[in-house]
């Protein structure tokens, strides 16, 4: 089906189903219950899930297949964002041209950075990409202020008159897809549950499904095999008459374009772009996502991106009062003790939890969440579980 074998196709169907039904799946708790704060089914967060999913899928094409660890991928996301917002400020508020511009500019920038950085491998490559990204950040922050808006970044203002969009005088432009506002939402109330269906989310989700589908095709193609060969043994590659450099460069540019797509989509959703998107911590974050989910696996990066964005938005909102509510049934002493123990790991301290989970994954579970899922499936060793495990193994060619 669609040029995929049965197992990959099933994986794609699962991903499509999950993303399409996300507004339901991510809102499992009734509005009035105390657990409603764990609901992640609001548009802003759902958009982030899929957009950073795209970013991580692209990063995985580079790191997962070729083993080249880039510590500067956020630069491409940033360039994509700037290109997209300029397209919207100047030409049209339709998101499609903006996103295309984001992809193109990120791709060109990735070609330049990759051409130079890929002349080195190992840690040298990581440092070179880091240096380029930090340079881009510093320039976007200071010298390039006329283009990037400096520290405050760029937004769509009342003075922006995109030539192809007919705006009323004084009207502030809004991102749209052929007239459909990105912020349009349809709310469905079912008893105590409220589900939000947001047009922006669904557009981003369609892009993610396309990106995911393309990544499966790349993983299964001769090109993908060559990339894994680069990771496995470059000496043999060269002595088999293959030039590893254009292969890695192509992978680098493709993953840069994925980052540009993510950057363009971010702009399509919130119509702003700032230099902090290019800071090296943002590059570190996509590394965390990919490793956490399972590097070199198809679905891993998406899971990792989801897990980290969920923690960032949900775990970080838990404060002391909420903890006290949870442990309220316990005697006061124990309650206070538990709150003291748990508090550093939630709320503002969520990075600590992230760091610990990340270390645990690198140490004990190099295959990330995907490998964890496989192990659990094997543990339950039933027939059904066994089938799933096999499927999961099939989807991890780089293992």
């Amino acid at each position: 089906m669609l040029g995929l074998d049965k197992k990959d196709f099933r994986l794609l169907v699962i991903v499509v189903a999950l993303t399409m039904l996300a507004p339901f799946l991510l809102n499992p708790f009734p509005e009035s219950s105390g657990l409603a704060q764990f609901n992640a089914g609001y548009p802003d967060l759902m958009q982030r899930f899929v957009i950073f999913g795209i970013f991580a899928i692209g990063f995985n094409i580079l790191f997962g297949l070729t083993g080249y660890l880039s510590f500067g991928h956020a630069a491409f996301l940033g360039v994509g964002s700037y290109a997209a917002i300029w397209m919207m400020k100047l030409v049209t508020l339709n998101v499609i041209p903006a996103i295309i511009m984001g992809v193109i500019f990120a791709g060109i920038f990735a070609l330049a950075v990759g051409y130079i950085s890929l002349r080195r491998s190992g840690i040298y490559f990581s440092i070179l990409t880091l240096a380029f990204a930090q340079m881009s950040y510093a320039l976007a922050y200071s010298v390039l202020t006329p283009i990037t808006g400096g520290e405050t970044g760029l937004q769509i203002k009342a003075t922006d008159r995109p030539i192809l969009s007919n705006l009323e005088p004084g009207e502030i432009g809004r991102a749209n897809l052929f007239g459909m506002d990105m912020r349009t939402s349809f709310e469905l109330g079912l008893g105590d549950w409220l589900f939000t269906f947001n047009s922006g989310y669904y557009i981003a989700a369609v892009f993610m499904i396309l990106a995911f589908y393309l990544s499966i095709r790349i993983f299964r193609s001769p090109f993908g095999t060559m990339l894994r060969a680069v990771k496995s043994n470059q000496t043999r590659m060269y002595y088999t008459g293959l030039n590893a450099r254009p292969y890695t460069l192509a992978a680098f540019v493709i993953s840069g374009m994925y980052a540009g797509l993510a950057g363009g989509l971010l702009v399509a959703m919130d119509t702003q772009a700032g230099p902090e998107r290019m800071f090296w911590t943002a590059s570190g974050e996509v590394v965390l996502m990919t490793i956490l989910g399972g590097v070199g696996t198809l679905i891993g990066p998406v899971l990792g991106a989801g897990a980290i964005k969920y923690m960032e938005n949900i775990l970080s909102k838990i404060n002391k009062d909420i903890l006290h509510q949870w442990f309220a049934i316990l005697p006061d002493g124990i309650e206070n003790f538990l709150v003291t123990i748990v508090y550093p790991f939630v709320g503002k301290g969520w990075h600590l939890t992230l760091g610990i989970i990340f270390m645990a994954v690198v140490i004990f579970l190099p295959g990330g969440l995907v490998e964890g899922g496989q192990r659990i499936a094997r543990l339950f060793g039933r027939k059904k579980a066994k089938g799933d495990a096999e499927e999961a193994t099939q989807s991890t060619p780089a293992e």
Binding site: Y124, I127, V143, H351, F358, V362, I363
Partner: protein, 373 residues
């Protein structure tokens, strides 16, 4: 033999470039400005050099790329913060001689040190918290380093460099978040002793007009301290048996092990030493920049660039590159330069790194075969 000769020409080349650089900037900006910027660069470069030295020690001995090294620098800085807090631990006394605005006798905080040593000595000790923290931090940093090596890094010797980067990157996040949980997210001002808080008229001493080349005392002390520490590490490696074994191990680990020397234990201590060097750099840096939880990461990114420019695994290279980049950064920050090339100060280090890596793949003084996969 061919190698050492080409190294020699490389070193003379680098030295020649440095001399030429100073001649050019001296002519461009005048002698006073050159001296001032050089001083500024050297004190900044000391921090880079110290962190890069530790990174290189760890990389050279253990073959591990330690992304948590910046965190050690930060922990050192927070040792100074902790000590100054410990020294000002106080108890409340009711001072009958003063009243608050309601007319009640006011409560004041009296440090325990006053009780023990009297007010004057107590104040002096509190004032000298940062230098005292040097003594306080050494055992702590060595311990932190050893625990880190035995507890975590040890298990990653045989894993790919990417895994080492990732796990130490995770560790760095954890360490900085722990510090944040205890000390909060805001920078904590930790001043130098009052005696060193002023500036030093460097120009007057050299025979220039007064108040032309003035420079904060503490930064000069920082540079001197850094130079001393670097000298100490080199002397230690050069002249002690321990250092000799470590150097031999850096060159050829297997052979040294074949000689029946327990190289692992020495390498663990080496990690402790590298941690102490980073920690001391952090302790002394507190008066220059108020420590905050992410200072380690900020420095780490630059220090890695320094190490790569110097040449992975080369100790003199790390030190040279640290000072070199510090000085270049100082000159790039000058108003006259920024007018012509705005933003140069922000990117100069990365720019140099890119140029060096592309023209001299092994860095300024790197050896062949290090980190070349």
């Amino acid at each position: 033999m061919d190698n050492s000769r080409s190294n020699l020409t490389a070193t003379t080349g680098v030295l020649g470039a440095i001399v030429a650089f100073f001649v050019v900037v001296g002519l461009l900006f005048g002698v006073e400005a050159t001296i001032l910027q050089t001083l500024d660069g050297l004190s900044k470069g000391s921090a880079y050099a110290l962190i890069a030295l530790g990174l290189t020690l760890i990389f050279g001995t253990l073959g591990v790329v330690n992304f948590a090294h910046g965190a050690l620098f930060m922990i050192g800085a927070f040792c100074a913060v902790t000590l100054s807090r410990v020294l000002t631990l106080s108890h409340t006394v009711i001072d009958e001689s003063k009243t608050d605005f309601l007319g009640n006798p006011s409560k004041i905080q009296v440090p325990y040190l006053y009780d023990w040593f009297g007010k004057e000595t107590g104040d002096a000790i509190i004032d000298w918290a940062v230098p005292l923290a040097i003594l306080f931090s050494i055992p702590i940093m060595v311990l932190v380093g050893i625990v880190m090596e035995r507890g975590l890094i040890k298990h990653f010797y045989k894993r790919p460099h990417a895994d080492q980067i990732l796990v130490t990157f995770g560790l760095a996040i954890v360490l900085q978040e722990i510090i944040k949980a205890f000390y909060g997210a805001n920078p904590i001002p930790t001043p130098a002793p009052a005696a060193f808080s002023g500036s030093f008229d460097f120009g007057a001493m050299l025979g220039f007009d007064p108040n032309v080349i003035i420079y904060p005392y503490w930064r000069i002390i920082y540079f001197a301290f850094g130079a001393l520490l670097i000298g100490g590490v080199f002397a230690f490696l050069q002249f002690t048996t321990f250092g000799m074994v470590v150097r031999a191990g850096m060159a050829d680990r297997e052979t040294v092990q074949l000689l029946g020397i327990n190289i692992d234990r020495r390498f663990t201590l080496m990690f402790g030493l590298a941690a102490a060097v980073a920690g001391l750099a952090g302790v002394m840096y507190t008066p220059i920049n108020s420590p905050n939880y992410h200072m380690g990461m900020d420095f780490l990114v630059l220090s890695f660039v320094v190490v790569v420019v110097g040449g992975m695994g080369s100790l003199p290279g790390a030190v040279l590159a640290g000072f070199l980049l510090g000085v270049l950064e100082a000159f790039a920050s000058m108003g006259e330069v920024l007018e012509v090339l705005p933003g140069l100060n922000q990117i100069i280090i990365f720019l140099v790194a890119i140029i060096i890596l592309l023209t001299r793949p092994r860095g300024l003084m790197g050896r062949k075969g290090v980190m070349e996969e």
